[in-house]
Structure formats: C-alpha cells, structure tokens
C-alpha cells in the first residue's frame, strides 16, 4: 500500500493512498507504529483518498491513538467522505473517541 508521510508544523501527516483492508492495514500499522515511537507532538491521518476501511483499519487507527495518548501526543483524523464517517458512527467511534476533522486545514491548526 502506498502511504505518504508529510511533515507539518509540529508533527506529521500520514496519507494512505488507497483503501484500508485486512491486507493493507498491516502496512499502515507498520508506518504508524514507526512514527509513534518517535513521539511526534501531532500525528494526523488523512483518509481523503480512502473509499473503504474495514475493521482492521479502524483497529489500526485506534491502536495508534491509544499510543499517542500514552505520551500525551495529539492524534487527529481527517474524514471528508460521508460513507467513511458512517462506518465510524456504526462502530461508535464518531464521538468521544477520535478527534475528527473534515479538512486537512482544520486538522493542522
């Protein structure tokens, strides 16, 4: 899976370039776990190019968020696709779990 890492002010933005499923989530996890070990102040994952994310993808994001919280880092998601947002809602992850933003600009502030 192609994944872009983009340095931002105070941290890094990770952009998966395709859907996140039980095969590709392993790749995403490797990238995120490597970044988390560096303890960035701000870690953003933008799902702008993701049309489908399965439960292994959600689990990968949850794990990363929990790791960030341990060192009091900020973990943010960018979700602009309403169908992806519904997936988070059905998994009860849309409230009080992730910090979710509709645009990269809002997330990077």
């Amino acid at each position: 899976m192609e994944i872009h890492n983009i340095p931002i002010d105070g941290g890094v933005k990770v952009v998966p370039m395709s859907d996140v499923d039980m095969t590709s989530s392993v790749d995403l996890r490797k990238v995120l776990q490597k970044l988390v070990r560096q303890k960035p102040k701000k870690l953003i994952v933008s799902l702008e190019n993701v049309e489908y994310i399965d439960s292994s993808g959600l689990a990968t994001l949850i794990e990363c968020m929990q790791e960030c919280l341990k060192y009091k880092g900020s973990f943010r998601l960018v979700i602009s696709n309403s169908k992806i947002m519904e997936v988070f809602r059905l998994a009860r992850l849309d409230r009080n779990v992730f910090q979710i933003y509709k645009s990269n600009e809002e997330a990077e502030k």
Binding site: S55, L58, L90, L93
Partner: protein
C-alpha cells in the same frame, strides 16, 4: 475458482437457477424431491427474505447456500463465484466472503465472548497483530450494541438469548463480510430485542453495504427488514396431495406481496395481506367480506 463476470452477476449477491435437491427416503425406499427447480436472486446491498411453511425445504436451501450441502442440479453463484453442483468446489475463499448467523447462535461455550468473535479472524487473517484483533473484537461488540468492557470476557453460558444472538452476529461480522446469512434471527427473542436485531440488520446493509439473506417465518420481522421477499411453497401433484418438491411461489417487495392476489400468498401472509381468501373455494377478494363473491358461502376466511 471460476468467476462469471457480467453486469447481472455483479448486481447479485446470490443467483440461484433451477436448483433441485432430493433425499432418499429409507422408509419408503423412494427418492423425495425437496427443492424443485428453485430460482431466485438476492441483490447486493439489499435484504432478501426467504419464507415458507415449516418443512418446505428452507433449511435444505440454506445449507446449500452456505456450502454445507450440495444440490443435485442447478446453478448457484455467491458474490460472483460459481459454486454450482458439479462445478468449482465451495472453497474457503468463498466461505470467507460471507458470515452466518445460525438460529442457535452456535457459539463455543468453552471460549469467552471475545475469543468466539476472534476465532474466524485468527483462522483466516493470521497476519493481523494480536492487539489489532483484540481491538477488532471490541469494535464488533460495539457494532451489535454490547459494551466490550462488560461482555468481552464473559462466557456464552451466562448470556441471555438476545445477548447470545448479538454475539453471534458480532462473530458473523468478524471478517467484514459482504454478505450475511441469517437463519431465523428473531427466533426465541422477545419483541423488543427482536426489533433491535431487525434494526441492526438494516443498519448493516445501509452503512456497510452488507447484503443480507434472511430465512424466517416471523412476518413482523420480514415486513420490517425486507427489500425483497420470496415465498417458498410445497408443490403438490395435481392428482393427489403428494409433495413434489418446493418451488418459489411468489416474490416481490413487501408492498407488492401485500397486494398480491396469489391464493397461497394471501393465505400465508394473513393479516399482512391486503386481501383475504375464502377457505371454501380459495377465491381471493377484498378483506372484510361477509359472503364469498364466488361460492356465496358465509365468510369463512383467512383474514
């Protein structure tokens, strides 16, 4: 594994054509035809409900669709994979594509709720880290409205009927299937829990685009969840009442079936039909009649 690609195939979660299945009756020493040229399609992203009287062959059809039984003849496609009898075998790759909610739940009583849900993930996706599997289990529990903090480490034997059904559904969802088979999902549940399961089925279809095939004879539930309903009926020989196999008698949206004037449909649906049937002459007519317009007998009706 051959995959038959065509626009029609891609629209259907399941396509069944001219399915026939017979069993050998060891008492009468004769072959009994159970499914008699059954044909139907279940569209992707929709809820298709299969209904029929007890003993009409629903369970046989269900077992054929989930790969636990082989039909004698006919064509069966599951999510674009041809698993027709005599053709490509029903492989693990095909079985991974769908989940099953069994009537009894079929949980392993020796494993915790969490381990039950994790079982298919560990079996089919061994590349996933154990921490990821753990979180997936918790997500599945939330999807079926069970708090993982409370339920993940419970044993199935201490769960209520509704909780067992939800855990079974969570397990059916474990591999994020595109199709789920439900065998009598509301059986044994009180009306409130039954409605919750119905809503879950609808939510899964709507949000996760999971096609659903439901076997039930709970008409309340069927009319709540169905996009399409198919009525199976035991067909009988003209000269006597011998069963000559089950057929697809009627099908349509819930509204179409409510307005169907086919006699058995009216009788089967009872109060859910917009019509009534005279039980003397089987003439279908408007509800509320006092005297049959055909045989003129006093109302002796299927309401």
């Amino acid at each position: 594994m051959s995959t038959i690609e065509s626009p029609k195939t891609l629209d259907n979660a399941i396509a069944v054509e001219n399915l026939r299945k017979a069993y050998y009756n060891t008492v009468s020493k004769q072959s009994q035809l159970v499914l008699n040229d059954v044909s139907f399609r279940a569209e992707r992203g929709k809820v298709t409900v299969l209904m029929g009287q007890s003993g009409c062959g629903k369970s046989t059809l269900f077992r054929i669709l989930i790969g636990e039984e082989i039909a004698d003849k006919g064509k069966v496609e599951i999510l674009g994979s041809d698993v027709s009898p005599g053709g490509d075998p029903f492989t693990e790759e095909v079985k991974k594509k769908f989940g099953i909610l069994f009537q009894s739940g079929a949980l392993f009583n020796s494993m915790t709720v969490g381990d039950n849900i994790a079982f298919p993930i560990l079996e089919h996706q061994p590349q996933l880290h154990s921490r990821i599997v753990d979180i997936m289990v918790q997500t599945k529990l939330r999807q079926v409205e069970l708090d993982p903090d409370i339920f993940q480490y419970k044993m199935p034997t201490v769960l209520s009927g509704g909780e067992r059904k939800r855990v079974s559904l969570a397990r059916a969802l474990a591999l994020d299937p595109k199709l789920i088979f439900y065998d009598e999902p509301s059986a044994g549940l009180d009306p409130i829990v039954s409605r919750t399961i119905d809503q879950l089925i609808k939510d899964l279809v709507r949000v996760l685009d999971i096609s659903s095939v439901v076997i039930t004879h709970e008409l309340d539930s069927a009319f709540t969840i169905a996009d399409k309903m198919i009525i199976l009926k035991r067909s009988v020989a003209e000269h006597n009442d011998d069963w000559v196999g089950t057929i697809c008698y009627d099908e349509g949206t819930p509204d179409q079936l409510r307005n169907s004037k086919k006699p058995y449909t009216v009788e089967f649906l009872g109060e859910f039909s917009n019509f009534a049937i005279c039980l003397q002459c089987r003439h279908v007519q408007e509800k509320g009649f006092q005297e049959c317009s055909q045989c003129h007998e006093a109302a002796s009706v299927s309401l």
